[in-house]
Amino acid sequence: MTAVLERTAPPLAARGWWAKTVAAARYEYLMQVRRPAVWLVVIGLIALRCASPFPPGFTSTTDHSTLVADWAFNFIMLCPIGVGAVLADRVRREARLGLDDLLTSTPTGIGPRLWGKAVGAGAASITPVAVAWVGLLGYLTAQRGAGVIPVGLAAFAAIILPGLVFVVACSVTVPYLAGPVLYRLGLFGYWIWGNMVGPRYGIPTPAGTPFEAIGEYPSGAWFHGVMFDAKQRGVHPTGGQAVLSIAFPLLVGLAVLVITQFVLTKRSPS
């Protein structure tokens, strides 16, 4: 009988964790970045806040660091809610599309798919933020010269990105437990409580501490950006505190992903 398929060496199941994760990330990115909702929501929220940016008058400062830091603060105020909202329903998407059995029948476990989703779909959801930020830097460069660019990129990495990465990690994991609807509300509640409801309201909150995700500490310590809740606590953040403020959300995000992978792997036969 003639062979129907050209014979190749059979694939080995155990190999290629990294390649599979990269593949999953690549395709999750592709599928997420194409969604109109991702761009509408994320850029819509950035535009909403930046329509009347805070603090008033900061755009006339001559200090490039302060300028980009305060813009970054305005970016990070609202857009994480949008990033989380558009990611929350990716979590159980395979079950909804009827792909669970097919994917479970492959020799690839939950790990590459979960990390691929976190990296790929997460990067796709952050892409509009990055594009908007690049657009802003372009505008500021035209106004102030190319000196804005390096400090602008650093501000993105230090002030905006850690909080977004934290939200991404939570948004591809917590909805497994809570479902996307309750998660979105919970994310909103956390974002306000954890980053905006400062000590002036008399309730315990991480807002204004190095454990908030809104990037206030790096902004204050390295870029002379506006301080709000930290200022209310009488804090002048140091470089070490800024590093802690970046590391904490990243580590929590990592922990959440690892725990979720462990739990899902235990439950899955694959």
Binding site: A13, R15, A19, A23, L30, M31, D101, L102, P107, G109
Partner: protein
Amino acid sequence: MTAPNVTITDLTVTFRRGEVRALDGISLRLPVGMVGLLGPNGAGKTTFMRVLTGVLLPTSGSVAVDGTELTSRSQRREVKATTGYLPQELGLYPDLTAYQFLDYMALLKGITDRRARRARVKEVLELVSLGDVANRKVKGYSGGMKRRVGIAQAILNDPRLLIVDEPTVGLDPEERLRFRSLLARLAGDRTVLLSTHIVDDIVQTCPNVVVIERGHVAFQGAIGDLATRAEGMVWHLTQPATAVPPDLPTVNVTPSMTGTTYRVLSSGTPAPDAERVSATVEDGYIALMHDTTPERAQHGPDLRAV
């Protein structure tokens, strides 16, 4: 490549804390080539296939592929690397093109070398006649085209064991023929387990058949032996259209101008004007469904290699 030795021993799957016994002590060995898996809706065919593909863990019993039991995760992954599966409920990512979807599935199946993967994806796309539309998003595909994407992904890794669950559902007659012919060609030196409740699909392609009913193996053997079960028991009985249908296992009902012709099973002559006809596989299957016990099935003839 040789087909795998697939042995199922006393396989039991229960749900809802034992309330539902989807599979109840199934034991059999799959031969090389096309094997049909027949049974009514809810018999346990899909559950059986999900266990074979490692998607579902059995409650008790074992499945061994070339001696490797599917007990540990790593063993299941080793077996999955050489298994292809087309599930009954086929889900696809609607926003990906067929090419992208197959590329992704190929990677998940362990084909990490880019050149080899590209070549394989193109090859299977041509095989299922989707080469021309490979760069169109799957959400724009017809049902038949989506099924073809499904079979394409199942054969990406050149599987030794190919499991297809109701593959021709929703296909037009031409596509069904094409599917059958493709599966038959693929069965050369593989084991292809074809699950369906459409008897004709089995008759056309499978020399061996397993019948599952209510979680038990009701029959296992050559397709001809299934037909033999009804030999001498098949009758054509024509009645006026308004008459009450005969109270006998009915294989087929054909209305006509002169009345309604019933193809029925009966050990004795059901009516003076009934015409005895020779039995088909479908007759044997219906006879089995109406007159079988688990004890009889386990002592049935073994599946023989063809």
